[in-house]
Every structure is written in structure tokens, then in C-alpha cells.
């Protein structure tokens, strides 16, 4: 079982979700985050003072998925979230030992 985490541009969320849905992904957990990266931040002005804001709004997705479908999910996110411009974000994959569906107590593949 794999956990796929992606950090993407906020306005790409709908597109990525739709692409994953088409791929048959049945669950995603999403949160608003802020990212620091090569994209750089921006300057804000408050009463003459300028602040460097290093963090840019991003959206993070987490998807738990069977091992054999992980690569397809990564590829789908990568293609649907890309704009080709700096700041498109990252995807990373890690190993999961156990998954449980709270409602039924099902585990592993059945829990998804």
C-alpha cells in the first residue's frame, strides 16, 4: 500500500481531482498549505514598509492507493497539475503498513 503526497498550485485542484476520478481513484484528502521553493515569494507593502513573503499558497493532496496503481496515480497528477511554469510542485510516494476504513473496520485493499 502506498501513500502519495502531492503539492500543487491551488487552481489546478479541480483538474487534478477530475483526472484522478477518471482514473478510478476513490478517495483524496486535501489541505491548504503554503510552499517555499524556487518559485520565490513576493513582496507586500504595508504603510511604506515592504515585507518579503516567502510562502506561496499551495494545495496538498494525500492519496492512499494499492502498490500497483501508485505509478499511474503519480503520472496522472504530474500531467494534470503541470503548467510548465515554476512552482508546479512535487509529488512524493511512501510506503504504508496498514490501512483501515473506520466505518467497517475493513483493512488493506478493501479499506480503499
Amino acid at each position: 500500500m502506498k501513500l502519495i503526497t502531492a503539492v500543487i498550485k491551488p487552481f489546478k485542484l479541480d483538474e487534478v481531482k477530475d483526472a484522478l476520478k477518471s482514473l478510478g481513484v476513490t478517495g483524496i484528502t486535501v489541505e491548504e498549505v503554503r510552499g517555499f521553493g524556487r518559485q520565490g515569494g513576493h513582496t507586500e507593502t504595508y504603510r511604506g514598509a515592504e515585507y518579503q513573503i516567502d510562502f506561496v499558497p499551495k494545495v496538498s493532496l494525500r492519496i492512499v492507493i494499492d502498490d500497483d496503481r501508485a505509478d499511474a496515480v503519480v503520472d496522472t497528477i504530474a500531467s494534470s497539475a503541470a503548467t510548465g511554469k515554476i512552482g508546479d510542485g512535487k509529488i512524493w510516494v511512501s510506503e504504508i503498513d496498514r490501512v483501515v476504513r473506520i466505518r467497517t473496520g475493513e483493512e488493506g485493499h478493501d479499506a480503499l
Binding site: F11, D14, H42, T43, E44, T45, Y46, E50, I53
Partner: protein, 400 residues
């Protein structure tokens, strides 16, 4: 000079002043969170630039006694000699009251063009618009040929709402739709702000309409009652249709319906009585709701529905006055069709509205087109994605 009438007109000026911040919040609640300050700023800035223009040349070009019915003279340039107008109320009270009208009218446009105007270009747009469109229209309707012709507009159904509504359409046609329009969901980011704006607008509209009596008398009192009842029934009319069509009565619907009713009663406020405001309000609530479909059909991205609410609402009120005007309420008016006045008034209302609409469309389109082709009117794609707050104003609305 009558101190009671003066007190009421000054109070009304303050109330109308407060409407522009109200409008700012009404709109700002509906945009996405990256464009909140952009929207607030466009409205607040109108208070800065338009007031200044009004004091320098606007007032005199509407109220300077030129003897013609097309444009005023320069008697009151820079507000000089305004005390010459002192009478029942001080001339300066008229300046104050009318200044607030001049401010809010171009601000109405910002709802249609949400999320995509360059700030500097917007500033130029409304400055020119105020001079080339608002000033002549205000002159014609309140102090010129449209008035002389016999058309009635108590507080600005034609001069303000039809005028701004048509202008909004013209600017939208020049700048085009928001990126993502029709494909991305763009739900309101903070509806409580919209409700706040509605509360302030409703409150201020009492001054807007009843202050237009320029006296604290029976007509002003009638206008207060009419204004409030039209808002109330506008809300009910909108919500009933909405509930039938979508299954829910929404908060945004209540807010929108109330504003629709307020728009429609604006031209009528001091000329109708009895149950008329309730009929006008509910018709406006229903028709403005139904008019929401127009932009869909035409693929106009009138983002926050200035056409459906202000243009359609303004037309509804202006024309219904041709039916409901009642000289027993206000002897300075005329009788409408239902009060024995025949079709005369309705025809005049129609002609006035049509002419103002056409004039506003053509001139606004030309101004917007000119700006668009020179310094540019719309932000570029990246700036639009990032949002107006950051790109136009180097600020964030909300910081954790």
C-alpha cells in the same frame, strides 16, 4: 432655511456615503479570496477620485444654470458660489447629497468586471466615465431634457441603475470573461461579508431615496416606507422563485432580491403609495432572478450580476412607474396608467430609459475600448491567476 429639511438632507448624504463601503462588501464577499482587496479598493477608490472630480467640475456641469437642457455651465466650478443656491436647504447640502450619488454610480460597474481590471486603468476608466457619461445623464434626468420631456426619476433608476448597468455590459464586452469562467467553480469566498454589505446598502438606501425629497416631509416618509417595502418584497419574490427552481432559498438570494427591490423602487420612491411598492418590489425580485439566465445565454461574464440586478431592476422600476405613479402621493409627479394618467408617462419613461441606455453603452464602450487599446484595461494571465490583491496592491487580505 429650514433646519429640519437641512438635517434630513445632511443625514441622507451621510447614509448614501456609507453605501459605497456597503457596496464594496456586498461585492467583495462574492469574489474569490485572492481578489478581495482588489474589489474593496476599486469601490473605496471611487470615493476618492469621483468626489474630487465632482467638486471640481461635476457639480457645476449638472447644476450650473446654463439655460440649456444638455449640460450645465461653470458657475459652480470648484464649488465657488454654491451659497447662491441656498434656499430651503443650503446649496452645500445639495452638493454633499449629489456627490455621494456620483460616487456610487461608477462603483456599481465593478461587480461586472470583477477580478480582472488593472487598477490604474480602472481609475482612469471611472474618472473619464464620470465626466463623459454620468455628468450629462444626471443633467438630462434631473435638470434637463429628460425631465422636461416629462419622465420621472425620483432617485436614479435611469440616471444611476440603467446607466451603470449598461456601462457594466459595455466594459464586459471590451474586456472579456474571467479566465476559467464556465469551467472552474468560483463560489463566493465569504458570504457574511455580502450580507453585511446588504445591510449597509439597505440602511443607506433610506437616505438615497427619501433624501431625494430634499425635505423632511410626507413625501420623504412615504419614500422611506416604499423603499423598505420594495426591499422586503424583492427578497420574497426572489426567494420564492429560487426555491421553486432550485429547491432552496439562499442567503445570497435574500440579499440579491432585496437589492433588486431597492433598485426598482429607486425611480418610484416618492411618486407611488399604498400597495404599489410591494407590487413593484416583488415583480423586481422575480424578474431580476429570471434575468440571471441572460448572461449564461449570451456568454457574458457579468461576474456579480450587475445586469440582472441593476440594469433589469432599473428598467423594471422605471417602466412600472409609468403604471403606478400617483399624483395624490406627490403632486409634482404625474399619474401613471393605473391612476388615470394614460400612456403618456409610460412612453416618456421608456424614451428616457432607452436614450440613456444607448448613450451610456456607446460612450462607455468607446472609453473602455480606448483604454484597452492604449494602456490596457485587463491584467495579464499570470496576474489574474495570482489575483488582484497581490499583483495590483501588493497585499494579502487575510494572513494566518
Amino acid at each position: 432655511m429650514d433646519s429640519g429639511n437641512t438635517a434630513w438632507v445632511l443625514t441622507s448624504a451621510a447614509l448614501v456615503l456609507f453605501m459605497t463601503p456597503g457596496l464594496a462588501f456586498f461585492y467583495a464577499g462574492m469574489v474569490r479570496s485572492k481578489n478581495v482587496l482588489g474589489m474593496l479598493m476599486q469601490n473605496i477608490f471611487a470615493m476618492g477620485i469621483i468626489s474630487t472630480i465632482w467638486a471640481i467640475v461635476g457639480f457645476t456641469l449638472v447644476f450650473g444654470d446654463s439655460g440649456n437642457s444638455w449640460i450645465g455651465n461653470f458657475d459652480f466650478f470648484m464649488l465657488w458660489n454654491v451659497t447662491d443656491l441656498d434656499g430651503d436647504i443650503p446649496g452645500m447640502a445639495l452638493v454633499a447629497f449629489q456627490m455621494m450619488f456620483a460616487v456610487i454610480t461608477p462603483a456599481l460597474i465593478t461587480g461586472a468586471t470583477a477580478d480582472r481590471l488593472k487598477f490604474g486603468s480602472y481609475a482612469l476608466l471611472i474618472a473619464i466615465w464620470s465626466l463623459l457619461v454620468y455628468v450629462p445623464v444626471a443633467k438630462w434626468v434631473w435638470n434637463g431634457w429628460i425631465l422636461d420631456m416629462g419622465a420621472l426619476d425620483f432617485a436614479g433608476g435611469t440616471a444611476i441603475h440603467i446607466n451603470a448597468g449598461v456601462a457594466a455590459l459595455a466594459v464586459v464586452l471590451v474586456i472579456g470573461n474571467r479566465r476559467g469562467h464556465g469551467t472552474e467553480a468560483m463560489p463566493p469566498h465569504n458570504l457574511p461579508l455580502t450580507v453585511l454589505g446588504t445591510g449597509i446598502l439597505w440602511f443607506g438606501w433610506i437616505g438615497f431615496n427619501a433624501g431625494s425629497a430634499l425635505a423632511a416631509n410626507g413625501i420623504a416618509a412615504q419614500a422611506v416606507v416604499n423603499t423598505h417595502l420594495a426591499a422586503a418584497t424583492g427578497m420574497l419574490g426572489w426567494l420564492i422563485v429560487e426555491r421553486i427552481k432550485t429547491g432552496h432559498a439562499t442567503t445570497l438570494g435574500a440579499a440579491s432580491g432585496a437589492v433588486a427591490g431597492l433598485v426598482a423602487i429607486t425611480p418610484c420612491a416618492g411618486f407611488v403609495g399604498g400597495a404599489s411598492p410591494m407590487i413593484i418590489g416583488s415583480i423586481a425580485g422575480i424578474l431580476c432572478y429570471l434575468a440571471l439566465g441572460i448572461k449564461e445565454k449570451m456568454n457574458w461574464d457579468d461576474s456579480l450580476d450587475v445586469i440582472a440586478v441593476h440594469l433589469v431592476g432599473g428598467i423594471v422600476g422605471t417602466l412600472l412607474l409609468g403604471f403606478f405613479a400617483d399624483t395624490s402621493v406627490n403632486e409634482d409627479g404625474f399619474d401613471g396608467l393605473f391612476y388615470g394618467g394614460g400612456l403618456e408617462l409610460l412612453k416618456d419613461q421608456f424614451v428616457g430609459a432607452l436614450f440613456v441606455g444607448m448613450f451610456s453603452f456607446v460612450v462607455t464602450y468607446a472609453i473602455a475600448f480606448g483604454i484597452s487599446r492604449t494602456i490596457g484595461l485587463r491584467v495579464d494571465a499570470d496576474d489574474e491567476r495570482i489575483g488582484l490583491d497581490q499583483t495590483q496592491h501588493a497585499e494579502s487580505a487575510y494572513t494566518p
